[in-house]
């Protein structure tokens, strides 16, 4: 005897799917509530505001991803030798675990992350830093250990280039996969994009600085 989905969860599920496809600002509460088959006003009743809904959608993923990632990074940090590639490989597992939040979870999360960074500048970045700042710090530390020749400032920038390439690949993912399929006759899955991405990122971070 399964309990029917609560209104709150119906909203979260519908919002997440629409956010991941069209972005936060481009998705209206009316679309969300129509998809979720709930009343428009229930969003503000259960979440207070659209902004709070966005945070709730993101939190559902971050609260799964961040602890898992933290543990992976902790384990890696006890290794004698640390490579950039090993650091990025730490993301694999935790990202895959997101399928427990939702089918297509990894892809959806990265899309959300992309829109979060390009749309609402401070808002969500501050939330992430406040709640999971230690994970980010550990990540930076490990990347620096893997590349001691790079200055902290250099590493800061490269990490954001990494984020940019990742996020962009996901946001433009559907359109690009379409083009790729047409031009190269191969159907490329979202997970494959990550496979192609990681070597690229590691190569970029490890590159000589001049």
């Amino acid at each position: 005897m399964v309990k029917r989905l609560t209104t709150k969860d119906k909203i979260l599920n519908a919002a997440e799917a629409l956010f991941a496809e069209h972005g936060f600002e481009q998705t209206s509460l009316r679309q969300i509530t129509a998809d979720a088959q709930v009343n428009l006003a229930s969003v503000n009743y259960h979440f207070g505001s659209k902004k709070a809904l966005i945070q709730a959608v993101m939190a559902r993923y971050l609260e799964v991803l961040m602890p898992a990632l933290h543990q992976e990074l902790q384990t890696l940090s006890q290794q004698p030798q640390i490579t950039t590639r090993a650091v990025f490989d730490c993301f694999r597992g935790p990202l895959q675990e997101l399928i427990h939040v939702c089918r297509q979870g990894p892809t959806i999360f990265l899309s959300l992350l992309g829109f979060a960074y390009t749309e609402i500048q401070g808002h969500l970045r501050r939330y992430t830093m406040a709640h999971f700042g230690d994970v980010i710090q550990l990540l930076l530390t490990l990347l620096h250990a893997a590349n001691p020749q790079l200055s902290p400032a250099e590493m800061f920038w490269r990490l954001h280039f990494v984020l940019g390439a990742t996020v962009f690949a996901q946001v433009s993912g559907p359109a690009l996969r379409e083009i790729a399929a047409a031009d190269f006759g191969e159907a490329i899955e979202a997970d494959d994009v990550l496979e192609r991405l990681i070597p690229f990122l590691a190569g970029g971070v490890d590159a000589p600085s001049k």
Copy 2:
């Protein structure tokens, strides 16, 4: 005796500045016309629609950048040896020339490009391909020559990772430079970001594929 700026140009200038700072969708025609000190309706009179205005703003840059880039790539294509780094260095000059369109032209253009890709998915990409498809094709050819070991599909994806990192670096540029300045005490100019970016991109493209 200088002619006063025409209404059309006043709109273009104001729109460009606001688009580069806040993106296309986040900028309203009322903000634009207020900054330009022209009437609201004149945008639709001179350009027909907001979408057409966006295209006009981008065209002003693309028509300067693309021929210059095309020539650089042509010159490079006659070299016996082609490296990834050399391909990316072809962008330096043409990008710098954009200061003739407008002071801060290079930065503004890259910001516009960023928003163009993240916001209006097809629209502008189709325009670019239609008008400057040969330049893009040449770019892909040269990158393949520099990395014959990579399959066309692989190169396709890496080129888009490149675009993602670039675009993201510019869009998040102001916010990130602020953080960097606070954390590392160094004031980083927009041009410096490009200096840091190019080695990263070349390293990523040249990375082994597995």
